[in-house]
Every structure is written in structure tokens, then in C-alpha cells.
Amino acid sequence: MALQKNKTGLFQADLVGTALKQSFVKLDPRLMIKNPVMFTVEIGTLVMLAVVLYAAFTRDHSQGSVGYNGAVFAVLLITLLFANFAEAIAEARGKAQAESLRRTRQDTPAKKIIPVGEITTNEVKLVSSSQLQLDDRFVCEAGDVIPMDGEIVEGIATIDESAITGESAPVIREAGGDKSSVTGGTKVLSDRIVVQVTTRPGETFLDKMIALVEGANRQKTPNEIALTILLASFTIVFIIVCVTLKPFADYAQTPITIAAFISLFVCLIPTTIGGLLSAIGIAGMDRALRANVIAKSGKAVETAGDVDTLLLDKTGTITIGNRKATHFYSTDGLGEKEFIELAALSSLADDTPEGKSIVELALQNGVNQRRDPAMQFVNFTAETRSSGVNLPGGRQIRKGAQDAIRNMVTKAGHSFPDAISSRVQSIAQNGGTPLVVAENGEAKGVIELQDIIKPGIQQRFERLRKMGVKTVMVTGDNPLTAKYIATKAGVDDFIAEAKPEDKMNYIKKEQATGKLVAMMGDGTNDAPALAQADVGVAMNSGTQAAKEAGNMVDLDNDPTKLIEVVEIGKQLLITRGTLTTFSIANDVAKYFAIVPALFVASIPALQGLNIMHLKSPESAILSAVIFNAIIIPLLIPLALRGVEYKPIGASALLRRNLLIYGFGGIIVPFIGIKLIDLLIGLFL
């Protein structure tokens, strides 16, 4: 999996350095206010600073000693820094990842075409890539690095995209059609192409992505907003709790120090999730980027987690590349060897992968046919729908789909053998593609082509089914073949003989029943469907139109990437949910640490609530705030990596996460606070 591919340590030294610096920069209240939970902590910290200064200068110790207040202040400040650090390290990691991609395309020389006059006797001028504007054209020849994202308008070339995808095999890109897009930073290996710039400088997908991670353009997703509202409302409840405590304490004649008030408040509000929330969001996009998927927005990643239906192309996703010849079936009266020779001859000039596989299979059967200059090759045309060869001796060998050959045979006045008809039928029923071979207008036998289903794909679909995601296979095959492969691979539904509009209609149909649909596509004719789908992943090799229409771009051009994207989306939401639960569950223990500490001096009977038997009110309060602070960095790795998603069904997943993060969230702070109290007890 690509996720592992880019795995690096969570805390690289240089990143930590940047993040530490950013932790202080982010203390700026103007930045802080975006996070209401932590902003209130900042206000509390400032109040504590005032208390410390007051106690230090006036020697008035009614609010507790300078040391104690200073300790509380320090812990609160550290809490803020920890929260800032979490966000900063997530940003730094995302940025580093994006930078490493961007580095490949910085200031490459570009051979810009300067149009001269009406008649295009164009000049080529060497400029820096940063000077290229939208719709400019440039030339790339063998050995050139492509300076900018664009679309080929002239020529064909082999291109090494390993800088972006990590895949070493070169790919072919040509003008027109669905493979016309080139990415800046990749290298032309052969031939010459003219490319038109399709993006403004600084607006490539990668630039957008980097901006998203950096925070300048980062917008909160709807789900993040809803969660922030919930967390803010908790914060307000605890403001009410703490403010009203003052008159209550007055009534009970129990003086409560400012430090105690602020500690209670900071401990109760959900600082853990509040501090980690933006880090979780950034890390989600970062995980997508590490899987070589560029998400155009954080929302796209989240939506991926909600997907109900997944449209997958058969070729490349479910089956390995192309069909392969697997069997030769000759008719009665013709030796097998002879038929294989016929089949191989018919495919000698057939450059399609299917044709090549027939020659290969013949070779394995000991039949070695070679091209001969005397041979006259007949190419496939839309009219004849067959191809083949005319041999010098007058033999005419043709190969094609059943109906094409049947036409040819009947035209020649021969009958089409029943044996061949039934063979064709049985091959199709078993998911194969039959090709019939004829010689001089007589049907001679059938070649079986089979799809090879990717190993392990069944398990992946099973995993998706447990997530509640329905898989749909899209294929150009006939319904019979499609059904066979669908059953064998374990997809839930299929679209056979699919035309681009069929995809679109299927998506609309699913959406009409309220489902969210994800699909992957590359061609221009995929663009409408990509735009219609809730999650559209365009392949980087695809056309510009497809890339504009989708909300994610997959740099690897890997059709199975959709599955990973869904898991990344789910992981993002789960991480948010579990850490929220953990954060809120922590409150139980904190109440039992602080509330007795507040009152016990004046109401000794309330010692009964001190179920953790904390040493003194001061140590209890300090232990609670210290626990509250250190839990943030302890959870940063979890926030960055994400809580593991297990496809075990929603109910089981809820049970599991509730047990770990809910029940754990209640227990852990009891233990943590007690331990810290024991430690503090050694010094106090």
C-alpha cells in the first residue's frame, strides 16, 4: 500500500524545530481565537500571569504562594504550547510532503513558443518556468523536464513520471484523447511535444494543496464546524459552572483562589480535542497526500468516509490490465497444432495486448510464427470488425468477434458450425471473450481470452462490504462476461457494455436514493460523471477536464486508490470522534480531583469525595492541570497517524471505540492524576 510507501518518522528533527517555533508564534490571540476552546485557555493563562505578578509584587499571599501560582501558570502555558505544537507539527509534515513534490518543478527552463505574425513561423525562447502564463505554449524534447502542468496539443512522447508517482515505467502521452495531460516536474524520454499551459502560475493542484495544508486557505469542513460548536458549547457550560461557583462559595464561606477557579475551568473544558482538532484535520489531508492523492479540499476527504457506492472500472482495478489468451479450441477435422498456427498467423500484426498474448500463448505451445515480408496484413477496421493476414499462397486468415466472422462466413456461402457457436457461448458464460478464426471464409476454431482477476481483490471488496460500501464494476464487456467477473471478484453490482452516460445515470440513480457515490475516471467523457459523483478521483494522467471535474487527483493513476481514499476519510472522522469522547470522559476524574480540593479546607466533610486520596488541595489541582497538559502531546502521534479503522461493522466499531476511548477515557485520568499527585507529593 502506498500508505506505507511514504512512511516516515512522525517527529523528524527539522520538522520539530519548525513546529516548536510555530508553537510560540501561534500564541498570537488573533490566531488563537479561531479555536474557541484554546482561546479561553489563553485568557485563563493571562489571568494567572496577572495573579503571579500581583502575588510577587504585593507579597499578598491570599491567592496562594507565588510558587504555586507560578506553577499553575507554567502548566497552562505549556498546555497552550502543546496544543499549538500539535497543529504546527501536522502543518510542518504536510508542508514537507508537499514541498518535496513541488521541489521537482522549481525553476525549470522552459522552451516557450513566441508566436510571430499571422503565419506561424514561431520562435522558441528559453524562459524560466515561473514566467509561463496560462495558455502559453512550450516545446519539450527528449531529455527535457516539463516545466509546468499542461495539455499536449501536438505530438506524442514517452514520459518518465517517477518524480511524481514513484513508478519507474515510462508512460505514453499524446495530443488528443484521454492521455494528453502532462505534469510539471516529469521528464520527456523520447520524441517532441508541444504543450499548452493549463493553469496560472501558483494555481496548480499542488500549489492549492500546499495552501490548504499551510492554513492560509484552510477552511473548516462542515463537520469540523459542527464539532467546534459542540466543543464551544461545552466550554460555555463550564464557564457557567465556574462563574456561578463564586457566589456559591461565598454562601458556603469557602474562599476559592483564582488559580483553583481557572484550573477547574481549564480541566473541564475539552482541551484535549480542542488542542488536537486542527492537527487531526491537517493530518487527514496529509495522509491522503502520502497516498499520493491530492485532495482539493478537506471536505472531499471527509466525504470519502461517507461514501455508500463505489464505481470501479473493471480494467486495472478488478482485473490485471488486459485480457489474455488462455485456450485454443479447434473444430473437428483440424489438428490442434494447425489451428494454433492459424491463430498465431492472424495475430502477428495485431499490436493490441490481446493480439500479443495470442502469439505468446502459441509460442508456449511450440508454434513459432514470424513475420514475413511477403505477408499482407489486414488491419482492424470498424467496417469489417476483423483483422488478419493474406498469405502469399492465397490463404486469407481472419480473426474477429463471433458475429463479424459469422457474417463473413455466411457471405462466403459456408455454414457456421454449431460446435463453434456452442463453444463461443460457453466461453462467454465463463467470463471469457471468444474470438473466432476463419480461413478463406470457413470458420476454423475459437480463441478464448480471459480476464485475470487481481489477487486479493475479493478480500478488499469484502472489507468494503463490511464498511457498508457497495461496489459497482463498470465494464465495456457484454452482460454475460460482466456477470461472471462480477461474481468471481465479489462486487455487488455491475454496469455492462457501459457507455460514459451509463456511469452518469447510475450515479444519479444512486444519489436519488440518498446515497453518496465515489468514482474514478480519466477521460474527458468521464468529466461530467466525475463532477456528478460526490467524490470524484481523477487520474493524474487524465485530461485536464477530468482533473478539473473531480475533487481529488491521484498522482499514481492507481484505480484501486478509491478504496484507500474511503478508509482515509473514515479514519479522519473516527479520530475526531474518539478523541472527543476521550476528552469528555476525562472530566469525570478531573471533577473528583478538583471539586473536593476546592471546598475541603472549609468543609472537611467533603474529604469523602476525594476518592483518589490526593495529598493536598494544591497537589490535587496541580496534578489535574498537569495531566490535562501532558495528555495532549501523548495523543499527538494518534492524532497524526489517525485511529486505526477496522471494518467490523458500525455497531462493533462503536462498541470497540467506546470501550477504548470512552471507558479508557474515564479510567486513564484517575490513574494519571493519582500518579502525578504521588510525584508532586515528593516535592511539596
Binding site: 461545552f234 457566589p247 462490504r465 457498508g468 472522522l573 470522534g577
Partner: protein, 572 residues
């Protein structure tokens, strides 16, 4: 087994036995199926005709709320003038005086909002006219308002993508004609046969055993007592409420009344499941509520049976438990049970003095009202629960890796905002109210008011604090019971509680109905294996945790200074 405990179990068992078929019957009629209810149709149609209402008109959630709030405002004006002029109006055989404007404000508000916080005694504070045509009338219509609001939620949860959520007036009228009136009739007959007065005559005069002549108040009480319980209103005919021998003559009537309190709130929980055809959802909600209820009942009953440790230390046996402020004909256990039943449901009628219960019983009573969703008041209890449920759905939805959704609708920022607002409101009203009164009491005890703040409390210390906390909690929860040591019939308490009552009633109705209405208009997504199951017990546990951590724990410091401090002090 202890006979007293057996009595409680029997009472609760009968409640459930009656609630399930009632819930089923309500669901059938809401579904438009023909049933015995249809006998009421002619009466209902007469009412619609007289009121000029078109029962076929479909309303969206905003129209529902507009109708509810408008009619409530009309009643407020009507009730207020009746009370301040009742002394000069007919049907006043005992010659009771008119109410002062601030008391009338508090009384009308508290009856309209289904609270019945009575800062007066029924015998002397109201006339027969206002008892029947203000108090009892409001007890019917306030209960019906709550039920009608809940039916909007029912409708919203069932239908797929709609803004048409039924007709408020139909829901409202039918709640009275089909639930409250028939049940109230049965209960009133049982009460009247057991000795509760049902007469228009004025005070009676009897000679006591000592030979004195005593004036005994009476009136058409049985009818009002029936609806006060069934509508979770709680406002009694007599000042002593259901502890009064004429209001609650014997153990049987005590059982009947205790059953009446819980019956409709529990039946509505079951009705939800039958109506939505999601009985598992109902069972889970019922289970969550019941766990909370049973915990609190066990606490209160065990405390009351055990008696006071202070008295035990004196070497005095308390064979029948703590009997201070209790009626001998009910005993400690039945009173403890009742105290939780009445605080759970926002009823507020009492059959003993809550002020005299043990500290932890008081703790359980106050906590019960702070949560206000373990069954809760008729209609509104389930609406309150719905808010917690939405919050639980949001958090657990995330935990299973999907944008949170409830019954196929996504929970987004707008719904979260409303739910959060309602969730904040309750602690705000209770804590801010108590803080205000504590502040005045501490810093201005001698203010020149009719009742000086320094004289508010009957008891000093923790218990005095509990009395104030109880009063605002009871107001915010629209409960209406009180720790009666508090001198509450004066300007400060009448007005401050009046505003808490209004906010505590209408916002928690508006919020959930708005959420439901918005959800009903949203895209509907079918369930898949990845969808959170809101009818699983795991999710029930999550909801319970949300209730405990959000609703209960925010009050922990306040409770620590009141009942908990008192408990730890006498149990040293």
C-alpha cells in the same frame, strides 16, 4: 420481601403494564388506523368547527411553533386577569382574595408551562372558579401542548423528506380528547370513590376528637387531582398536595396517582417505537431512562428506609425509616419512590415533604430534575431526551467513521447549534438563578424588601443552599415541587422563577421541534453496514454517558455544596 418494597415494585410494574398498550393505541391513532379512539371524532370536529380550524391543513415546523406559542400567550393573558380579579368573580364560596400581580404572574406562568410551582396554598390562594377554569384548564392544555410538540417530532422522524408535519390543532385537541380526558375521567372516579371531595360546596365544619370545631376546605377536587398527575402538572387542590388526606386518601389512591404520573410519559416512549415501526429504538430509549430512574429510586428509597444517622446515634430505633415529613399511611418507601417519580417526570406533586427527606434523597430528587429526561414530562421529556440523543449521535457517528446521521438524516452545524443551545440552557438557568439568589443573600441580606433576603431560608447552611438550588432546578425543569422551607411567595422569587419557568419551558420545546423539522427536510440516506445503529444498546450506553457527563456532572460542584456536603456532614 419487605411489603413496602413490594408495593413500589407493584406500582411500577402496573405502570409499565398499562403504558405499553397505551403507547400502541396512541401509535395506531397517529397512523390513522381506525380504533376505539374514533368515537371521539364527532367531538373533535365540533371543536375544530367552533374554533375555525381546518384539520386537514398541513403545517411545517415553524407554523407548529407559531400556533403553540400564540395560543400559550392567549392563555397567559386570560389566566392573569382571572387570578387578579378572582376575589370579585363568582364561584368563591370561601371568599378567597384576588392574587397580587407578581404572584398571579408566577402562578399563570407556572401553570401554562406545565410546572405548577405553587407559591400559594390552593385552599386559600384560588377560588373554585380559578381552580377549575384556570388551574385545571391549564393542566389539560399545557400537557396537550407538550404532547402535540412531541407528535411533530414523531411525524418528522417518520416521513422521508417533507416539510408537512401534520396539524398542530389536531395533535393538540386529540391529545386532550383521546389521552388526557378519558384517563382523567377514570382516575377521578377512583379518587372520588376513595373519598376525595367532588363538590361545589364551601368549607365544611367538623368536630375533632378533642371537641374543637375545624374548618375543612373542599371543592371539585377529584377531577383536578386526576389531571394534575396524568398531565405531569403536579399542582394540587390543597396546599399540602398529595400528602393531604383528601387529595390522596389511602395507599390505593397513592398507587393510582403514582401510576398516573408515569403512565403517559412512558407510554409516549413506547408510542414512538410503535409509530416509527422501530420498537428496538423505543426499547433502548426506555432502557436508558429506566436505568437512570432505577438508580435514583434505589438511592432515595434506601436512604428513606434506613432513616437518619443522627437519630440512630441518639439510640432511637427507626423501624419504619425516616418518618419526618411523611404520611404514616404511605410509609418511607412509597414516599421515597414517589419523590423520584415526581421529579423524574416534571410532575412536582408530592406525598411527603421533600425538604425533610434524607440528604442523598434530596440529592437524587434535584439530580432527577437537573437531568429531566428520565421519562420526563408528558411530551417534553422525550423532547429533552432527543437533544441528548442528537449530541450522542454526533459523537458516536464520528466514532464509526461517518458524518453523523440519525434515522437517515445528517446532523450538521445548524442542528448542533440548536442542540447545544438547549443543552446549555438548563445549567445556565439553574446555576445562574441559584448564584443570583446566593449573591443577594450573602451580600444584601438586609435589603428593604417585603421579605428580607436574610429571612428567605428556613434552614441555615448546606440545607438552605439546597432549598434555593431546588427551587430554581424545579423551575427550570418545570417540575413545581419545592424544598418548602424557602419563603418563595415574594417579588424576587415570583419574578425570577417566572422567567426561569418561561425559558425552561419554551426553548426546550422550540429547539427539538426545530431540529426535527430541519432534519425532516433533509436528504434521506438509507442505512448500510457502516451506519451507526441508533437502536443498539451500545448507543444507548453512549446516550446515558452523554446525559451523565453533560447534564449531571455540570452540577457536581453545586451538588457538592448542598446535599453532598450535608450527607458527608451527618455521616461522619
Amino acid at each position: 420481601m419487605n411489603k413496602e418494597i413490594l408495593g413500589i415494585l407493584l406500582t411500577y410494574g402496573l405502570t409499565i403494564l398499562l403504558a405499553i398498550p397505551l403507547g400502541k393505541a396512541i401509535a395506531r391513532w397517529l397512523n390513522g388506523e381506525r380504533s376505539a379512539w374514533n368515537a371521539m371524532a364527532p367531538l373533535e370536529h365540533l371543536i375544530y368547527r367552533l374554533a375555525g380550524v381546518n384539520p386537514a391543513e398541513e403545517m411545517n415546523w415553524k407554523q407548529h411553533l407559531k400556533a403553540l406559542l400564540t395560543i400559550n400567550l392567549v392563555w397567559f393573558a386570560y389566566g392573569f386577569f382571572m387570578l387578579i380579579f378572582q376575589g370579585s368573580l363568582p364561584l368563591n364560596p370561601d371568599g378567597n382574595p384576588s392574587q397580587s400581580p407578581d404572584l398571579a404572574f408566577n402562578t399563570v406562568i407556572s401553570f401554562i408551562v406545565n410546572c405548577d410551582l405553587q407559591h400559594y396554598s390552593g385552599e386559600s390562594g384560588l377560588t373554585y372558579l380559578t381552580q377549575v377554569f384556570v388551574a385545571s384548564f391549564f393542566q389539560f392544555v399545557s400537557a396537550a401542548s407538550g404532547i402535540a410538540a412531541l407528535f411533530v417530532l414523531f411525524r418528522a422522524l417518520r416521513s422521508k423528506v417533507t416539510h408537512q408535519l401534520g396539524n398542530f390543532w389536531v395533535f393538540f385537541v386529540q391529545s386532550i380528547t383521546r389521552i388526557l380526558l378519558p384517563l382523567a375521567f377514570v382516575v377521578a372516579v377512583i379518587l372520588a370513590l376513595s373519598g376525595t371531595p367532588a363538590s361545589w360546596a364551601g368549607k365544611d365544619s367538623i368536630a375533632t376528637l378533642q371537641g374543637d370545631s375545624v374548618q375543612v376546605s373542599r371543592g371539585p377536587a377529584a377531577a383536578m387531582i386526576a389531571i394534575k398527575q396524568l398531565g405531569t402538572n403536579g399542582g394540587g387542590w390543597f396546599g399540602a398536595n398529595s400528602a393531604h388526606p383528601l387529595e390522596n386518601p389511602n395507599y390505593l389512591t397513592n398507587m393510582v396517582e403514582a401510576i398516573s404520573i408515569l403512565l403517559v410519559p412512558v407510554a409516549l416512549v413506547f408510542a414512538l417505537g410503535f409509530y416509527l415501526k422501530k420498537q428496538r429504538l423505543s426499547r433502548v430509549i426506555y432502557a436508558v431512562m429506566t436505568v437512570g430512574f432505577v438508580v435514583l429510586v434505589s438511592l432515595a428509597v434506601s436512604q428513606e428506609i434506613a432513616g437518619s444517622p443522627v437519630i440512630s446515634k441518639l439510640g432511637i430505633a427507626q423501624g419504619s425509616g425516616s418518618m419526618e415529613g411523611k404520611e404514616v399511611r404511605f410509609g418511607a418507601a412509597a414516599t421515597g419512590y414517589w419523590s423520584i417519580v415526581t421529579t423524574a417526570t416534571s410532575n412536582g406533586s408530592v406525598n411527603g415533604m421533600h425538604d425533610s427527606t434524607m440528604p442523598l434523597s434530596g440529592f437524587a430528587q434535584i439530580l432527577d430534575m437537573m437531568i429531566n429526561a428520565f421519562y420526563g414530562g408528558v411530551g417534553v421529556g422525550l423532547l429533552n431526551y432527543f437533544v441528548f440523543l442528537i449530541i450522542a449521535v454526533f459523537i458516536s457517528g464520528l466514532m464509526v467513521g461517518r458524518t453523523p446521521e440519525f434515522l437517515g438524516r445528517k446532523i450538521e452545524a445548524r442542528e448542533m447549534k440548536i442542540a447545544a443551545l438547549v443543552a446549555i440552557l438548563h445549567p445556565l438557568l439553574i446555576l445562574a438563578g441559584t448564584a443570583l439568589s446566593s449573591h443577594i443573600l450573602v451580600h444584601h441580606p438586609g435589603a428593604a424588601w417585603a421579605v428580607k433576603p436574610g429571612a428567605w431560608l428556613n434552614n441555615p447552611g448546606y440545607h438552605g443552599y439546597s432549598e434555593m438550588l431546588y427551587e430554581y432546578t424545579s423551575s427550570a425543569a418545570n417540575n413545581g415541587s419545592g424544598f418548602e422551607g424557602l419563603a418563595d411567595n415574594n417579588l424576587f422569587w415570583n419574578i425570577s422563577c417566572g422567567f426561569v419557568l418561561i425559558l425552561g419551558r419554551y426553548l426546550p420545546i422550540i429547539g427539538p421541534v426545530a431540529i426535527a423539522g430541519i432534519l425532516a427536510g433533509k436528504k434521506w440516506t438509507p442505512e448500510s453496514a457502516g451506519t451507526l445503529k441508533s437502536d443498539s444498546y451500545t448507543f444507548g450506553l453512549m446516550t446515558f454517558a452523554v446525559i451523565v457527563i453533560i447534564a449531571a456532572l455540570s452540577f457536581f460542584p453545586a451538588l457538592a455544596l448542598g446535599p453532598l456536603a450535608e450527607y458527608f456532614s451527618i455521616n461522619k
